[in-house]
């Protein structure tokens, strides 16, 4: 007969928590991990301290001219002095307050839209009145505001105008194109497919060249089409095709039963789409739509090639100033920072949206 004996209690394993255990598990688990960790730390050590020295510790912040720079690192005085150029381009200095009002009104509008407006009509009114006010304030020519021609617009202002006008107008057009592509009517379907695939198949830059060289030939002789307007037309043409593809993804995810249910309720095509299919499809497509908006926001920098003065082109323009020669590095780093902040915020926001809309399927 076996004799069972109670074994002596063992002490609890001592190293299962705390920073050392964490490092052993996550950084030095295997010999391969040790090598990788060491290599990466050496790499980071090689990259980060010199960059911080350049950007912060040895950089110059105080002063008004290039000669005031004391450090051996970056000269941020240049960014400070040229900040108006980076934000407003060649917008006349005494009129800049109008742009600032537009920026301020944006937040007021968002607050009204989210918290104060209750009905659909109120929301639609706010949604329509803001662009109108923004246009009147920025362009001028009405209510005693001096008219500012579009070639004076520039910098971040121009980038934001192109991006937001492009996206807002392209979304309805893109939805219509996506519906066209899913349509049962052969002519409408094929026209949509040809348009979407054509736009997706050619580089944006060739479309912009088309806009700046060919578009004027399409109008009656003598009609001068504004350079910015030409770029906007092209950008809207491109964006609507890309948005159509994102919306199509959403439309394809809607089960057939939804269409049949709408049909059996006796809804016509447009009622079926607007009240049953699109609300569900757009919800699915929303993260993709934000992703595409980020892509298109980045692509607005291409308008620089056809001679518009967007944020990116300001680096070249301001560092060609004879008082500030050789400041390109600072300019590029600053502009990179601005683009990155905007795009990264948008991508994080799309993740939040994805999470929020995922819940009802879990």
């Amino acid at each position: 007969m076996a004799v069972y004996e109670i074994k002596a209690e063992r002490p609890a394993p001592s190293n299962l928590r705390g920073p050392f255990h964490w490092m052993k598990e996550n950084l030095f688990a295997t010999p391969m991990d040790v090598i990788q960790t060491v290599v990466i730390f050496l790499f980071l050590f090689w990259i980060i301290p010199p960059f911080l020295d350049w950007a912060i510790f040895n950089a110059s912040f105080l002063g008004d001219t290039k000669a005031d720079a004391t450090g051996t690192g970056a000269n941020w005085i240049y960014i400070k002095e040229k900040l108006d150029m980076f934000i407003y381009g060649f917008y006349p200095e005494e009129e800049i307050y109008r742009v600032n009002i537009v920026f301020g009104l944006f937040f007021v509008t968002v607050i009204f839209f989210k918290y104060i407006a209750r009905t659909f009509t109120q929301k639609a009114f706010i949604f329509l009145i803001y662009p109108l006010m923004a246009f009147v304030l920025i362009k001028g020519g009405y209510f005693g505001f001096v008219d500012i021609p579009t070639d004076k617009w520039g910098g971040l202002l121009l980038t934001l105008i192109i991006a937001s006008v492009g996206i807002v107008i392209s979304i309805p057009l893109g939805i219509v194109l996506a519906l066209g592509r899913q349509s049962e009517l052969p002519i409408i379907k094929n026209l949509s497919v040809i348009y979407i695939e054509f736009i997706r198949g050619v580089p944006i830059i060739t479309m912009l060249f088309m806009g700046s060289v060919l578009l004027p030939l399409f109008f009656v002789d003598g009609v001068e089409v504004d350079k910015l307007l030409r770029a906007l037309i092209v950008i809207i043409m491109i964006e609507s095709a890309f948005i159509a593809e994102a919306v199509r993804g959403g439309l394809q995810s809607i089960p057939k039963g939804q269409y049949e249910a709408a049909d059996s309720l006796g809804l016509g095509y447009w009622k079926k789409m607007i009240f049953v299919i699109l609300p569900q499809a757009l919800k699915v497509a929303l993260p993709n739509l934000v992703g595409i908006s980020i892509e298109l926001f980045k692509d607005t920098s291409l308008v620089m090639i056809i001679g518009l003065f967007d944020l990116l082109s300001m680096v070249h323009l301001t560092s060609n100033d004879s008082n500030w020669l050789g400041m390109e590095t600072e300019g590029y780093v600053f502009v990179t920072f601005v683009y990155w902040i905007i795009c990264y915020t948008m991508s994080k926001y799309s993740m939040i949206l994805e999470d929020r809309f995922n819940t009802n399927n879990k």
Binding site: N26, L27, A29, D33, Q36, T37, I40, F41, L44, E184, L185, P186, I187, I188, L191, E197, F198, R200, G201, V202, P203, I204, I205, T206, F209, M210, V213, L214, P216, L217, F218, F219, V220, D221, I294, K298, D299, S301, L302, M304, I305, L312, V315, E328, T329, Y332, V335, T336, Y339, W340, C343, Y344, S347
Partner: protein, 384 residues
């Protein structure tokens, strides 16, 4: 009117309206176009292709003469440069993207976080900005040829570009080439033999050490037997600049670098999401069948991950080819710079030139889509 409630009638009517509107629109544009062409005295037609171009191109992979070559030759030079920079970009973006994508899933905390930082940093910055940064900031501040940075094996980097040794293939290299082909044929034969043996008897053959010996060893032996199959042409400093060797211009380097680094961040995401999409249950099922880590990766995880990753990766390749057109901002002579830029300025035939450029890109896009469809068919889950 009852007929308005007839579905067929309404379908035909709505399409008819669209067609009529489209025709009216096109008619308006084309009449204006024809009027403008006539009024401004713009020449039309594709005759200009045969005219002498008369401008120089800095990088000419095929024979091109400043004074004799035609616009068509210039077009070809541009097209080939587009293909070269895209090919180089695709190769490096794939390698880097795969590396970063796998690193992103590493259990090592710091490896995974550095990969994440790489992805989030580069994909949230406009590509044009990255190209200009490499060109105007990094490459422009490199030292002059006399102070060039030297690397191993006669490789020099300076503000005129990157110089590397150039292998000049001699006639006797043909024998080596035959040996390479032969080695591959033998390898394929062995793989077939091993597969057949596995299917017939169920016995596995450890083949890969032999394959490596054949594919690398055979050409290497032949290479050493044959009388000087390759002469190396090393770049050397003569006066103020380098001569000999192979030169990559700063424009090419900036473009290839930016395209690879940017696209790699997007490919890494595709690789990661492909591997993550293979559910845990699949890996557990593989483990419960007794497959070890390598077998589970090779037989269960990768076949499914590849099926999910290939379409987005091919899409990124296509984007890379299209994005190579941004070269026009720094003047690398690819098709948009040479053809839609210089040739358009010289001839003024915007309609023809932009149409041809778009047609070239459309052909490339459609070929890639075709390839994608074929691959999708091959990778499709075969349900029985």
């Amino acid at each position: 009117m009852a007929i308005f409630y007839n579905k067929l009638f309404r379908d035909i009517l709505s399409q008819l309206i669209i067609v009529v509107l489209l025709v009216l629109f096109l008619w308006y544009i084309i009449t204006n176009l024809l009027y403008n062409i006539d009024h401004r005295g713009i020449t039309t037609g594709f005759d200009f292709f045969n005219h002498v171009a008369g401008f120089g191109i800095s990088e000419t992979p095929i024979a091109y003469n400043d004074t004799k070559s035609t616009y068509f030759d210039a077009f070809l030079v541009g097209l080939i440069n587009t293909l070269i920079v895209s090919g180089v970009g695709i190769i490096f973006a794939s390698i880097l993207g795969l590396l970063v994508g796998v690193a992103r899933l590493s259990k090592n905390y710091i490896v995974s976080k550095v990969a994440l930082a790489y992805i989030e940093f580069f994909r949230n910055i406009p590509l044009l900005l990255q190209i200009l940064f490499w060109y105007n900031v990094v490459l422009a501040t490199l030292p002059s040829p006399r102070q060039s940075l030297a690397f191993a094996a006669s490789t020099f980097l300076n503000n005129r570009g990157l110089y590397i040794p150039k292998p000049l293939l001699q006639d006797s290299f043909n024998i080596v080439a035959i040996a390479i082909v032969l080695a591959f044929l033998i390898a394929i034969y062995f793989i077939r033999w091993a597969n057949k043996r596995f299917e017939d008897t169920g016995k596995e053959t450890t083949l890969w050490p032999w394959l490596i010996i054949i594919i690398i060893g055979l050409p290497l032996v032949v290479f050493n037997i044959v009388d000087t199959p390759v002469i190396i042409d090393n770049p050397a400093l003569t006066g103020f600049n380098f001569s000999g060797g192979m030169r990559f211009s700063p424009e090419f380097l900036a473009l290839a670098f930016a395209l690879s680094i940017y696209t790699a961040s997007l490919i890494a995401e595709a690789v990661r999401s492909g591997i993550e999409a293979v559910t845990k249950g699949q890996k557990e099922a593989a483990a419960s069948l007794g497959l070890n880590g390598y077998q589970s990766l090779k037989l269960v995880v990768l076949p499914q991950a590849i099926r999910i990753s290939i379409p987005p990766i091919l899409g990124q390749y296509l984007n890379l080819i299209k994005n190579s057109s941004l070269a026009t901002a720094i003047g690398y002579p690819e098709i948009v710079t040479v053809f839609s830029g210089t040739v358009l300025n010289q001839t003024g035939q915007a309609i023809e030139i932009i149409t041809v450029t778009m047609a070239v890109y459309l052909t490339i896009s459609l070929s890639v889509s075709l390839l994608l469809n074929i691959i999708n068919k091959k990778l499709e889950i075969k349900e029985r």
